[in-house]
Every structure is written in structure tokens, then in C-alpha cells.
Amino acid sequence: MTILNRRQRNIARAGGRAAVLVFFVTFLAFPFYWMLITTFKTTNDLHDTSHNPYLFNDPPTLEHLRVLFEDTQFVQWLLNTGFVGLAVVAITLLLAVPAGYALARMTGAWGQTLGIAIFLTYLVPPTILFIPFARIIAVLGLQDSLWSLVLVYPSFTVPFCTWLLMGFFKAIPRDLEDAAMMDGLSRFGAFVRVVMPVSVSGILTAIIFAFTLVTQEFVYGVTFITSSSSYTVSVGVPTFLVRGDVYFWGSMMAACLIASVPIAIIYNLFVDRFVAGFTVGAVK
């Protein structure tokens, strides 16, 4: 056995790291690469098993995109998602911003306990609540209506965003408000006029998360909505485009790619804050 010198060890370690990263990037990103290739291949090329699937055996085509935008309700689904997303974001901010601030400033054990209790409700999954909700929504006459989603989605965005905002407000020094209160503002006035303006990045993070959580939701959507014109993207593509025996793989992959990549990129910018929310208390 030879004793490796420092340089050789460093090279070996860099090589090992590169191998690990190549393996995982391939595993994790491959489906998206595959969606991209599929989107631009002709149906004939996709369905000829003698063709090498990694290559464009026929020239690339925009036909699948045309079908998706002209012959399906994809655009409607995008609009629905945007509408529900904006409405849920508005409700979430209205409820979570004041609550987060109160939790951050409450003294004693109560603030901490309530904060954790609210966060734990985020962990109650849709798959426990969707059965009673199916009937509640029917009683309210909201089946097939986007308003059913607007009503129910804050049940997971509010707990998560309250928790997230609590962390943000805690990081803002109390002195700032105390100074403003010395100048004659009430506690609430200091919150609105002094704390909120310096919390723009925290509130923006809450907006992004509320919106992305809405775009990712599937269980309630598939439970409450049955007519295809009221689907959101994450429900419409898997349920409507898959129905029947004919799979429009090209258009489906295009739909998946178009709907997921922008969300992924925006989310990615904020993911560290998301993780901080998950690990508050466990990482110092």
C-alpha cells in the first residue's frame, strides 16, 4: 500500500465529488431533460422503437406545443392557477402577517408554544382532510368552483407563512419599534409604519411560498373539481391529458415543462429561506 501525498489525495477527493454529483444530477434532472427532448420530437419519431430515443431522427417540431395551446384547455388551466394563486396569497398575507408579528413579539412561553402549534397544523395532510372537505364543499355549493380552492388552500399556506414570518419579525430589533413608540406611535402603528417597510423581503418570501404551494397542490383539486375548464395546471395535465387510451406524450411533456420550470426557478431563489423555516430550532 502506498502512502498518497496531499496533492493526490485532493485530486482523488475532487474526483469522488465529481462522480457523486454527476450521478445525482443525472438521476434528479433526467426526467426534465427527457420532457424537453420529447416536447420537440415528432410523434412518428417518438413511436418508432427502432429509433435512438436520445436523438432527433426527424427534424424538431413545434406541433406538440401548437396542440397544447390550441386544442387543449392548457391556457385556461394556467389562468385558473394564477387566479387561485393570487386570491390565496391575498388571504394568506391578511392572516399570516399580523399573526406572525404577534408571535414574534409575544413574551413568555406562550408565543413559542403557539408558534409550534400553528406550524404543526401545516403537517396535517390533505389526505386526512379531503373526505370531510368533499362534503363541506358540496354543502356550500362550491363543487367545481375555483372558489372551493380559494377557501381551502389557505389552510396550509397560513400555518406555513405564519411560521416563516414569525422568524423574520423576530430578526427585526425591537428597538426600532420602541423608538417609534417613543415618538407617539401605538404598538400597532409602529408595526404598520416601521416594521412592515423593513420586512419587504420576508413578506415577498411568504408570497412566493404561498403561490408555489398553490401551484403544487393536487389532492384537493382532484377532489373538488370535476369539469375540465376549472382545473388548475397541476390537476389538469395529469387527469385530463391522460384520459383515454391515446397519450399525447409530446404535448403532455411540454405542459409539464412549461408549468414546472418557472415555478422551480423562482422557488429556487428562495429555497434557503424555506429550509430555514423547516429547521428553525434544529439549526442554530
Binding site: 434528479l28 362534503r135 415555478i263 429555497v271 429550509v275
Partner: protein, 313 residues
């Protein structure tokens, strides 16, 4: 929208009910918290209680009156073979996928903890499965597992792993289908676990490692005796979230197999959906979905323990 006024520009507050609340912290905090708590109680607490009630009733989608039937639904459930299949599958699905998630995420997090060029791009690509809507990601896998055009089969045959007569139908045979589902769940959770563990790794002070290296501890010894014990609590947090997002998930199974072939890949969540929503038997569905609850409680208790322990230190 908001001006940042100088102190002298601030108007004195008019006195009234509002201003009394606005200035009194014992009134203000409850007033600010009440709307959020009310919403959560009405839209999480109330449905949950209803779910408990439905599980001991005969409610259906169409029924007007709801009658108490005791444990009848649970008796029906435990007599159905599909329930036991679903329970077994949920447990296998969760344990196997989370085992691989822990191993993979730790390896990947260590590899990502160093600085190198193009790291942001690698991170973006690695995070894709978690940040993209899972129902759409699962559709991508449906195409990858396709019975005729599977890219996996084509590639395996091209490199000689599969013989000319082998052509596995990934989602068509029970064991293969279960494995396929587990692979997709690993694919989806590894990114989340990785970034959580990465956050834990970056909180380990460098000087601990440096001091150990100075004392002659090698890479492996430092990894096993310093890094691993220190990332254990954060790995536990990653596992807790992974377990919840896996055990209670129905999307991956729903999109890939609809529980098939012959209900062999049903999990509790999909079985609750097919019973309660598609079958219209809300009472039965509620009873099935309540079997998710014990795991949820266990995870919540563990999570609270982790939170408390780190608070003390």
C-alpha cells in the same frame, strides 16, 4: 406605498377603542392572532373532527341524514384484503424510500458542501424534483416507465443489460410497480433532505474539523466521528418531514398506477381516495384515512422533542 416618515412627521394617535387595542399588548396580540387561528380552527380543526365523526357514521356523498354506526366501518375495512395491502404498501413505501433518502441525501450534501465552479447550476438541477409540482414530475416518470417506449428499457437493451426477449413492464407487475413508485418518491424527497442536511453541515464550525485534522484524524474518521454525530439531529428533522410527505402522499401512486395492477400498489391515501371520493363512501374513506393519523402524531412528538432539545443547548 409606505412612506418611511421621520419621527417628527408622525401624527399623534386618536384615542378610541381601536387605539386602546393598538397600544395595549395584552389586547393587541390576541387581536392580531385571532383571524389566523380562527381560520385554522375552522379549516383544519373542524374538518379533522368531522373526519373522526364520519368514520363512525354511514355518511355518503349523496346522503342527507348521517347516522351513527359505531365501529362498523372499521370492521368492514379490516375485513377487506385491499386495506391490508394498502397498509403494508404504505409502510414499505415509507421505510424503503426514506432509507435511501437518508443515505443519498447525506452523500449528496457532503459533496455539495465544498465550493466549486457552477455550483448554483448543480443546485438548481438537483432541486428540480422538489420544487416542480410533483403531479407533473410524476407524469414525466409515467413516460419514462411507458410499457412500449420506456427509455430505461431502450437504454438497458442498447448497453446489453437486457436481452432481446426481456422487456420489463415497469408499472404492470406488482413488485416492479412498487419499486418504480418508490424510485419516484426517492427522486422527489432527496432534494429536500439534501438542502436540510446541507443547512446542518454549514452550521458545523470549521475549526472543529481543522482541529481534528491537526490531531491527525483522516477524512473518513472525521466524517464518521465528527460530522455524522453532529448532523444526526438535522438528519432526523429531514427524515421526519420525509416520512410525513411520503406516508400521507397519494399523488405519486395516483398518477403512476392508480393503485393498480389489481390494487396491488394501493397505499392508504389512494385507497381512502378511491373509497371515499370516487366510490362515494365518505364514511369508509374517512375510516381508512384515519390510519394515517398515528404516524402523524408520532412524527409530531419526535419533532417537538428535537425542537426542545436544541432549545436547551
Amino acid at each position: 406605498m409606505m412612506r418611511a416618515p421621520g419621527p417628527s412627521a408622525l401624527r399623534p394617535v386618536p384615542r378610541g377603542l381601536f387605539s386602546r387595542i393598538a397600544d395595549n399588548e395584552t389586547l393587541l396580540w390576541p387581536a392580531l392572532l385571532a383571524p389566523a387561528i380562527l381560520y385554522i380552527v375552522l379549516l383544519v380543526g373542524l374538518p379533522f373532527l368531522l373526519s373522526l365523526y364520519y368514520s363512525v357514521s354511514d355518511v355518503t356523498v349523496a346522503s342527507r341524514a348521517v347516522n351513527f354506526v359505531g365501529l362498523e366501518n372499521f370492521r368492514r375495512i379490516v375485513e377487506s384484503a385491499t386495506f391490508w395491502t394498502a397498509l403494508r404498501n404504505s409502510v414499505i413505501f415509507t421505510i424503503v424510500s426514506q432509507f435511501f433518502v437518508v443515505v443519498f441525501a447525506n452523500i449528496l450534501a457532503v459533496a455539495l458542501s465544498a465550493d466549486f465552479r457552477g455550483k448554483w447550476l448543480v443546485r438548481l438541477l438537483i432541486l428540480l424534483p422538489w420544487v416542480a409540482p410533483i403531479s407533473l414530475g410524476a407524469i414525466g416518470w409515467l413516460w419514462i416507465y411507458d410499457s412500449i417506449y420506456s427509455i430505461i428499457n431502450w437504454t438497458a437493451r442498447a448497453v446489453g443489460i437486457l436481452g432481446p426477449n426481456d422487456w420489463p413492464i415497469w408499472l404492470g407487475q406488482p413488485v416492479l410497480a412498487m419499486a418504480s413508485i418508490i424510485i419516484v418518491q426517492i427522486w422527489r424527497i432527496v432534494p429536500l433532505a439534501t438542502v436540510i442536511i446541507l443547512a446542518g453541515l454549514s452550521s458545523i464550525p470549521n475549526d472543529i474539523n481543522d482541529a481534528a485534522a491537526m490531531d491527525g484524524a483522516g477524512f473518513w474518521r472525521r466524517t464518521f466521528q465528527i460530522t455524522f454525530p453532529l448532523v444526526m439531529p438535522i438528519t432526523l428533522v429531514a427524515v421526519l418531514f420525509g416520512v410525513i410527505f411520503t406516508f400521507t402522499d397519494m399523488i405519486v401512486v395516483f398518477v403512476l398506477t392508480r393503485g393498480g395492477p389489481y390494487d396491488q400498489t394501493q397505499v392508504l391515501a389512494t385507497w381512502a381516495f378511491f373509497t371515499g371520493i370516487q366510490g362515494g363512501d365518505l364514511a369508509g374513506g374517512a375510516a381508512v384515512s384515519l390510519f394515517l393519523f398515528p404516524v402523524l402524531v408520532a412524527v409530531a412528538i419526535l419533532f417537538l422533542n428535537v425542537a426542545r432539545r436544541t432549545e436547551v443547548t
